[in-house]
Amino acid sequence: MIIFDHVSKTYDNGVKGLIDVNLTINDGEFISIIGLSGAGKSTLLRAINRLNEITEGEIVIDGKSITKANKKELRTIRRSIGLISQQFNLVKRSTVQKNVLSGRLGYYSTFKSVFGIFSKEDYELCNQVLEKVGLSNKLHERCDNLSGGQQQRVSIARTLFQQANIILADEPVSSLDPVTSQEIMEELRNINETMNKTVIVNIHSVELAKQFSTRIIALQDGKLVFDGAPDLLTNDVLTMIYKGDSFLKGSEK
């Protein structure tokens, strides 16, 4: 369970990223965050694993405050949160295997990881998760030889390997074509349903958000303006969220 308690974020230059956000996310939910560019979607998502520091309020994950955590506690909390991002956040020159294995660096000592000493169980787990995303034949392939969709699958495999309970996906399909986007979203839903992991996705496409998520959150200028089931997201609400952008009215009809 993730609890946002009066969370605000003001950047150094005075710009408000988030304004008084209150939110409770239950285990096993599939949440899509929508809103215009610059509405604070990324800020909200990255506040959960504290890649972005918040300036006011507190975020509590499974009973532990990540806001007040010290360096060591932060590492421990972060181990259970996976991150997938638009740019696939992989080391392009490293192999698929090495990228996946790096998902559990938080569990290894500095010494062991520097020399690449991973346990037998982890190697087996790595093979399993790659099989799950359909890439078991690409174990020693370099990531820059893979297509965008395959790279995003490696990213997903890493969060699975990490055995994270929460998966954060920051615009996971923005640089993919529509067919691959559909496949990646299906993969995420599959993980959400079969493994009961919480999935939180930032997404531009309202259609994909409606199709896949169990709950939709909308942000506007850093404020939470909608929080509810996908069917409650009517055209009027969308017009409000997207400040009456005409292209949406057209596409929704």
């Binding site: 972060r78 080391v91 020159r93 090495k98 500095t110």
Partner: protein
């Protein structure tokens, strides 16, 4: 009207340019060039065209081949020293490794600037005092100079690096050293290797001049040959240097292509 003003503009710039060239040229002593005779140059050139192959290899260890090999050795040792020793400086000078702290990277960069400011020749003179004349002094001189050169380039690459994988490492709870080994080094290693190879080549060129002050290598023999005007020897030595640098250029080019 307008075209006229452009014309006067051009005239002013041309006059300014001519004045600048005259200012640079007027007090330089050109009499040496006036004394230059084409027939004398022709003779020199003719002698240069007949390289003295007998000195290329005679097994004495003082022949051109052995000296060239030593020159390459000087560059190799120097580049290795420079590469290893520049790493701590890079860690200090890279902005993105010191979140929020601007003073430490600034100091790091300043130290690298100073190291680069001294020419290798001056370092060679210093190290001849430390380890005595010989190739090792040359290697140390090239090494220290390359700390500055490679340090600067390494730092630039570190700062330009793609930060997304670094963030991904932090996000799974990796510490700084783990991030270094799993996100930064894999990205930087090929670039760094390519820079090192390039500087090895530059090092060979420098090493062939350091003999001038007694820091080993082929430079000393060349200068003696030039001073004695033994053009056959001079051309043989130059030929060897050019061929070696050319070969290394091709070789490092092949390796660099493989690194991509």
């Amino acid at each position: 009207m307008k075209s006229k003003s452009i014309l006067t503009n051009k005239l002013v710039i041309s006059l300014l340019f001519i004045f600048l060239v005259w200012f640079c040229a007027y007090d330089i002593d050109w009499s040496k060039l006036a004394a230059f005779s084409w027939s004398g140059f022709g003779q020199t050139l003719a002698q240069l065209m007949k390289p003295d192959f007998t000195i290329f290899y005679d097994g004495s260890g003082e022949d051109i081949l052995s000296l060239m090999v030593i020159t390459v050795g000087i560059a190799f040792v120097g580049t290795t020293i420079g590469t290893i020793l520049c790493i701590p400086f890079v860690l200090f000078a890279s902005k993105n490794l010191w979140k929020g702290n601007t003073i430490i990277p600034a100091i790091g960069k300043f130290v690298l600037d100073i190291l680069r400011a001294f020419p290798e020749l001056v370092y060679a003179i210093i190290f001849i005092k430390v380890v005595g004349p010989g190739p090792f002094a040359g290697a140390l001189a090239i090494g220290v100079h390359q700390i500055g050169m490679l340090g600067k380039l390494f730092t630039e690459e570190m700062e330009l690096m793609d930060d997304v994988p670094v963030e991904a490492c932090h996000a799974v709870g990796a510490n700084g050293i783990q991030t270094m080994f799993y996100a930064r080094i894999p990205q930087l290693l090929p670039i760094y290797a390519s820079l090192v190879l390039n500087h090895f080549e530059i090092g060979v060129r420098s090493a062939s001049t350091l003999g001038l002050v007694g820091a080993g290598g082929i430079g000393a023999v060349l200068v003696f040959a030039i001073q004695a005007r033994r053009w056959g020897r001079v051309s043989m030595i130059l030929l060897t240097v050019i061929a070696t640098v050319f070969l290394l250029d091709v070789l490092t080019g092949i390796i660099r292509k493989k690194l991509r």
